[in-house]
Symmetry: C2
Subunit: 240 residues, 2 copies
């Protein structure tokens, strides 16, 4: 069990062998019609018109056919993070990595919605999905740990931000999967990630809100004589 | 599979039947000596001197004996959150709930360290643990969602904060499990949770740092004539 199962799930979606796609289509038709537990691998290969060995060539277990794209998506995300420019802002980068996962779900919306309903019903698939999500979270955390290496609390900060990004992603993803016709998935994710970036202090301040060098801030108690405040003010402005 | 397995694991630790504790002790002795996969339920009951039915009375599967305290701990956490005062600060409350989980690990340090090493080696146990962690996270998120009900982004904020708290807890827990003699678990958790509270803006400001009513803040550009700033300052201080 684990997202490392679907060894054949690499490469661009358009490169997937037709037999693999036929197996996925047959599996989901049967899962929907009969239920997941009631469908055997024999049923799937009979409907797809292939042998058992072909199934296991692509999918080590019946669970793996439910998550055929995660292996490729995790590889894409890992490559994306590994190829990050040195000066990339780390939290922005992991947010962009999370967008890759959402895009994978968005490539085939009806399949994603079917799987969401299936996964909610079958405890074994929910456990598999937790393992998949854990792999994404660890990939984000590993990148952040490297970027925060040498900082005090670097690993703690990395773990907490990775978990927050994944939770924000999953919240947006689920709101889309529940109402695919009403929710704009990418907008929901952008909104959710903005909250994470705000919490961890990486929201780029627009130029108009930035404190320019020619601004002076004076904080004083009301009962301090005015002349002393003015002297402070003059001093801060460079007139003192 | 799931933390709902150990149905008998309720109540105070001191109330656990001796047979249940004997089964746990026998299981861990064999897991450590022979390895988890190489140990059967038959081996465990033979060493504990009881019958197979006794084992399954307490533990539905072999995996459940590895996590005998989580069911009780999850129930304790859920009760703690359900009993929260209405005016409790929600993020502080979920941080305190996370401390309950750490305390459970701390009740039996050598058992926790043994289990940590075992879980790292056995993929099936890691999957089980992910499910356990997911139940804690959902319990925290449920409480926060109720508290944030009606707020814009209430469910998003609840999910993100619950995930951040769990990540902070697990970071502190693992640093202690790796070096139980060198790390003070409670101090590590307190430090980790402080970061989460800081990120989500719930750090209580000590009275001395709070901005009392008799403080005046004036922000001005350096090139504004001084007399205009002084006029603003007088006005703000109530002299204008």
């Amino acid at each position: 069990m684990g997202s490392s199962g679907a060894a054949a799930g690499r490469g661009d979606r358009t490169e997937q062998p037709p037999m693999r796609d036929a197996l996925i289509a047959a599996a989901f038709r049967l899962f929907t019609e009969r239920g997941y537990e009631q469908t055997t691998v024999d049923d799937i290969v009979a409907l797809a018109g292939v042998g058992r060995r072909s199934f296991f060539r692509y999918f080590p277990t019946k669970e793996d056919v439910v998550f055929p794209d995660h292996e490729r998506c995790l590889a894409d995300m890992t490559a994306f993070l590994a190829g990050s420019p040195d000066d990339a802002e780390p939290v922005t980068r992991v947010c962009d990595a999370a967008r890759l996962v959402l895009r994978m779900y968005g490539e085939n919306p009806s399949f994603s919605v079917q799987r969401y309903r299936l996964t909610k019903q079958v405890p074994g698939l929910r456990a598999y999905e937790l393992s998949v999500v854990w792999h994404y979270e660890r990939a984000l955390a590993r990148y952040l740990r490297e970027r925060f290496a040498g900082h005090p609390d670097g690993s703690l900060r990395a773990d907490v931000i990775a978990a927050a990004v994944v939770a924000a992603h999953n919240n947006a993803l689920r709101s889309w999967l529940r109402s695919p016709d009403r929710v704009d998935a990418e907008a929901a994710l952008g909104h959710a990630l903005a909250q994470v970036r705000e919490a961890f202090g990486t929201v780029p301040v627009p130029p108009s809100q930035a404190l320019p060098e020619d601004v002076v801030v004076v904080v004083s108690r009301r009962d301090v004589p005015l002349w002393r405040v003015v002297r402070e003010l003059e001093s801060a402005r460079g007139h003192g």
